[in-house]
Each structure stands twice: as structure tokens, then as C-alpha cells.
């Protein structure tokens, strides 16, 4: 086997790793969409907000310090302490649960039974509002997020695979962070599946996703389930925020990863957790392979649009996605 073959495999591996991150964001969308029929445009901003909050808490930043300083003429910026990563993650999760509760209490509880497009518009509003709040709370500068995850190429993998491809091949080049992200995503999905299949709340969640009226009749509080679902989506956003933040810094363009999740959802179906995973992997591998093989011939930068073209093809031939529930119209 020539070195080219192994480079192709390396491209596929890197594509899989990128796909895992897409899948993480898509997962948050699926959770909320399944349970409440809301397409949550704010999922990407939630990831950004979670990452901002995490960095802010870890570095002991004073929230709203710009605002406070401007109003009171003070010069406070941080508390002067550092919070350990694990504790900061837990505190951030508390913030995300609080956020879920507020969103349900002040927005979506009042929109029950509205058209999906109205709910969608509400999430767009929520996205920009949350982005503004994030800016106001933690400032708009780019921050580095270091929760102690390993970074850089894995030398171990590189050295131990170098023998495969002869003299021209120096071993697979794989970022350690990507490996960690893949493992975390796998654990996260396993936990979510176990939660939804085997626990009381998980069963209630599936029930609400299936039929609101029937869920009410067996004694399930829709409000509670929706807060739970938004909290779970907040948790997924936090994980995605940590991974993306550690990879490329916490900056406001992070919220745009939501747009990367769209083709993943079209591919995998809006209601399927395995679909989000597989869809993410296909998009990740597809765009990396396409860029590697076809990109150089047509001037590159295919990663920006490849995913959408793939998703469009899917929309034409299989509108419900790979794993989505089949659309059957009874006449």
C-alpha cells in the first residue's frame, strides 16, 4: 500500500473526529425538537454562552463588569480567584439549568400550541438576546479555554502507525483533543440513551415527544419535561462548547456552528439521536474527503458548501433523513 492510501485514511479519521463535534451540536437540536417540536435556532448560541460562562467562572471574572464599571465608575474586573475546572463545569451546568427554567417560564410556556414557525422565530430572538447577554456578562474578547484536555498531535499514534506506509508516510496525524472529544461524545450518547430508555423521566420524556394529550392523561407535567429537555440541551451545549472552545478558542463565531448542524440534521433526521451521530460523521468525513480529493481541482474551500449540497440531495431523495420517522400520509 502506498502512502496515498494511508493519507486518505488519515483524512477519513480526521473527518470522523470533526463529525463528532458536528454531531454534538446536532444532538442538542434533536433533544428539543423531539420533545417539543421546537427547532431551537439558539442551540449554537447556547454552546457559546456555556463556554463563555465556563471561562468566566474559571477565571473568576465578575459578570456584567463592564456594565457595573460604566454605571458606578468602578474598576472591578475579576474576583481574583481561580475556580478548578470540574467545579466550574458544575457551576456552569447550574447556570444552564437556570437558563432552561427561565426560557420555559417566560417564553415557551406562553407559546404552547402556536404554529412551529412562531416557535422558530422565538428561538431566533432568543439566540440574539442570549448572544447579547453573553457579551454583556463576560465581554466580547476572544478567550482561551483550558480545562486540562490534552492538545496537539498524538505522538503515540504517529509513532506507532509510521511503519504502515513505508518511507513517505510518517504515521497518522491526529489531534489528541479530537480523540477526547470522540470519547466524550460516545459516553454522552450512551448516557442519553440509557436515560431515555430506562428511567422514569426518560420514559416520560419519550411520552411527551410522542403525544402531549396522552402524556397529560397519564400524569406527566409537560412543563417539567420541557425544563428537563432544555436542561439536557444546555448540558449538550456545554459539552460542545468545551470541545469547540478548547479547539479554537471561545469567540462569538462559535455560535455559527449551529449552521453546521443544519445539514447534519437534514441528513440524520430531526428526531433521531443515532441519526444526529451518523449524520455528523457522514458530513465530517464527506467534506474532508471531498476537500482532499476534489478540492485541489476546483480551487478548494469546498468545506463551506459541501455539507449543504449533500443535505440538499438528501432532501430530494429522502426528505425524512436517514433515521427520521417515515412520513406517511393516510388518505
Amino acid at each position: 500500500m502506498g502512502a496515498d492510501f494511508y493519507y486518505t485514511i488519515e483524512v477519513i479519521l480526521n473527518g470522523l473526529m470533526a463529525g463528532v463535534l458536528y454531531a454534538l451540536v446536532a444532538l442538542g437540536f434533536v433533544l428539543i425538537f423531539k420533545a417539543s417540536g421546537i427547532f431551537n435556532y439558539a442551540q449554537g448560541v447556547m454552546a457559546l454562552f456555556a463556554a463563555l460562562t465556563l471561562v468566566g467562572i474559571m477565571e473568576g471574572q465578575v459578570p456584567f463588569s463592564h456594565l457595573i464599571n460604566a454605571v458606578f465608575g468602578t474598576q472591578i474586573h475579576d474576583f481574583g480567584w481561580h475556580v478548578p475546572a470540574l467545579l466550574a463545569i458544575i457551576l456552569t451546568m447550574v447556570v444552564m439549568v437556570g437558563f432552561a427554567w427561565l426560557v420555559q417560564k417566560y417564553i415557551f410556556r406562553h407559546l404552547v400550541g402556536q404554529e412551529p414557525i412562531i416557535l422558530f422565530m422565538a428561538t431566533i430572538g432568543l439566540a440574539y438576546f442570549l448572544e447579547g447577554v453573553g457579551d454583556l456578562m463576560w465581554g466580547s474578547d476572544i478567550k482561551t479555554l483550558d480545562v486540562g484536555l490534552p492538545q496537539g498531535a498524538s505522538l503515540w499514534i504517529e509513532e506507532n502507525t509510521a511503519f504502515l506506509g513505508g518511507d513517505d508516510f510518517y504515521g497518522f496525524f491526529i489531534d489528541q483533543l479530537d480523540v477526547v472529544a470522540a470519547m466524550v461524545a460516545a459516553i454522552l450518547v450512551a448516557v442519553l440513551v440509557i436515560f431515555s430508555q430506562y428511567t422514569k423521566q426518560g420514559r416520560a420524556m419519550r411520552a411527551v415527544a410522542d403525544d402531549h394529550q396522552a402524556a397529560l392523561s397519564v400524569g406527566i407535567s409537560l412543563n417539567f419535561i420541557w425544563v428537563l429537555v432544555w436542561s439536557l440541551a444546555g448540558f449538550v451545549a456545554l459539552v460542545a462548547g468545551i470541545m469547540w472552545g478548547a479547539k479554537s478558542g471561545v469567540q462569538f463565531s462559535l455560535s455559527l456552528i449551529a449552521l453546521k448542524a443544519l445539514p447534519v440534521l437534514m441528513l440524520g433526521g430531526f428526531t433521531s439521536i443515532p441519526g444526529a451521530i451518523v449524520g455528523g460523521l457522514i458530513i465530517g468525513v464527506g467534506e474532508k474527503l471531498f476537500e482532499y480529493s476534489v478540492g485541489p481541482m476546483i480551487g478548494g474551500a469546498t468545506e463551506n458548501w459541501f455539507a449543504y449540497v449533500l443535505a440538499l440531495l438528501f432532501l430530494v431523495f429522502r426528505p425524512q433523513g436517514l433515521f427520521g420517522e417515515k412520513i406517511i400520509e393516510r388518505v
Binding site: R203, R206, S217, S221
Partner: protein, 272 residues
């Protein structure tokens, strides 16, 4: 007249207890339309109580008032001797009033077993954390609930479709699964909204048998809405007759059958 707390024994040997649900002067309006006009009646423990009447008489609205889906503008609901505050449907369900729907509301994507298990959600006491961590207690509880559910599945003879997704079942079986889910909650009162609508003769006979068996075996109090007069007269201990939102008759099947208002309004005037 019987006192509210007195009990009596029926001809077929079942004991009917005191009043468990008392509806007092219920009025329900939708805008300017009065769907229920000042209706009072009670349901006694252990009885099968039918609500009948022509289309649009307000029967389903009445059931929706009892189960909390509609909030009446006037009147009081008394449950087990206490006045019930305004409640959400899920709170009513938690209190022990289970129901089925005229148009069937099942979780179509879930298996029969999972559907029936949702009926037990309120029987599960373990909190989120021990559930999440899958401690022994949660596991034991799951097993106990599973056992109770299997018993009901056996009882309603739906063992063979336990693992089938509900969406694939024929209409008659869906109705039976919905009954199983309501039963799984071990309700104090079971509300059935047209349990036999749209069924063929055989399916109706089966459903009749199940309703009687449930009442007999578990002593469940049942309130049901039904169109088929023959069925109602065979099944029920007492019947409420509604017409245009009013109550026009209330009593045993025989009393109701001989009530002139009921004959005129619902059964039609005899031609011979």
C-alpha cells in the same frame, strides 16, 4: 334515597360503596355556547356509571371536566369527600383518575409494553438521581412495576403484541392498549370515552367483557360514555342522560328506559 356514605349490594352480588366523585352544578361555556348547563350527579365507589345522550349533548365535555382538560365556569367537583381545587390534567391523573380518549391518544412510536409502562409513571417514587445512577432501589421498583404491567397485559389478552409498536396495531387493539395503560395506574376512577366506538360486534363483546371483568376483579369505579344503548343497559349500574347540555335523566337502566323525557329526546317515540 341512599345516603352519600351508605353502601348497597347489587343483584349480581357486587358491593357499591359511598359517593367517590360528586359533581355539583357544573356549567361549562365556550364563548357564548353553554356546553354543560348546571349539571349535578355523583359516582359511587365500585359502580359502572354510564353517560349517554345524542351527539353534541356535552358528554365528552363532562368527561373532560372530570379529568381536568376543561375548566368549568361554575360548579364544584368533590373527590373523596373534599372539594377539588382547579387542577391541571396531569394533577388529576396523579390523584387517581385515569382516562381513555374518544380518538385514542397513545404513544404511537412506542411498543405496547412501553405504552402500558407509562401508566405506572406515578407509581415510581425513586428520584431523578437514584434513577440516573441505577441504584438497586430503582431497579427493584422497575421490576415491581413491570410485574404489575405484565399482569394487566395478561388480563386484557394482549401478550402476543407486547413488543409491537402501537402505530402498527388495528383500531380495536389500540383501544384495548389504551385501556391497559389507564388500568396500569391502578386508578380510583376510570373514565372511558366511547370505548366501543367504531368497533365490530366481536370487538364490542370483548371490550364489554373486559370492562365488566375490570370492575369485578379490581373493584375499579368506571364512568363511561357510550352510544350503543344495548351495551349501556347491560353494563351499567346507573345512567346519566344528557341532551343539549342538560341532564334529562338519572337512575338505573330500567328507570331511564321508562323515563318519558329520555324516550322523547334520545330513544325516539315508539311507533306501535
Amino acid at each position: 334515597m341512599l345516603d352519600d356514605t351508605e353502601s348497597y349490594v347489587t343483584a349480581d352480588g357486587r358491593t357499591i360503596g359511598g359517593v367517590v366523585l360528586d359533581l355539583k352544578s357544573i356549567t361549562l361555556r365556550f364563548g357564548g355556547v353553554e356546553a354543560i348547563k348546571n349539571i349535578s350527579f355523583d359516582i359511587r365507589e365500585g359502580e359502572i356509571r354510564a353517560i349517554i345522550g345524542p351527539n353534541g349533548a356535552g358528554k365528552s365535555s363532562m368527561l373532560n371536566v372530570i379529568s381536568g382538560f376543561y375548566v368549568p365556569q361554575e360548579g364544584e367537583v368533590w373527590f373523596r369527600g373534599e372539594r377539588r381545587p382547579q387542577m391541571k390534567p396531569y394533577e388529576v391523573a396523579q390523584q387517581g383518575i385515569a382516562r381513555t380518549f374518544q380518538n385514542i391518544a397513545l404513544f404511537e412510536g412506542m411498543s405496547v409494553l412501553d405504552n402500558v409502562m407509562t401508566g405506572r409513571l406515578n407509581k415510581m417514587k425513586t428520584g431523578l438521581w437514584s434513577q440516573a445512577l441505577w441504584k438497586g432501589k430503582a431497579e427493584r421498583e422497575e421490576n415491581e412495576n413491570r410485574e404489575a404491567v405484565e399482569k394487566i397485559i395478561d388480563f386484557l389478552e394482549i401478550q402476543s403484541i407486547r413488543k409491537t409498536p402501537v402505530g402498527r396495531l388495528p383500531y380495536g387493539l389500540k383501544k384495548r392498549v389504551e385501556l391497559a395503560r389507564a388500568l396500569a395506574a391502578e386508578p380510583t376512577i376510570l373514565l372511558l370515552d366511547e370505548p366501543m366506538a367504531g368497533m365490530n360486534v366481536e370487538e364490542k363483546e370483548d371490550m364489554c367483557r373486559f370492562i365488566l371483568d375490570v370492575n369485578d376483579e379490581f373493584g375499579t369505579t368506571i364512568a363511561l360514555i357510550e352510544h350503543d344503548m344495548g351495551v349501556v343497559m347491560d353494563l351499567s349500574d346507573r345512567v346519566v342522560v344528557m341532551d343539549y347540555g342538560r341532564k334529562i335523566g338519572d337512575g338505573t337502566p330500567d328507570e331511564v328506559r321508562n323515563n318519558q323525557d329520555v324516550i322523547d329526546a334520545y330513544l325516539g317515540v315508539s311507533h306501535d
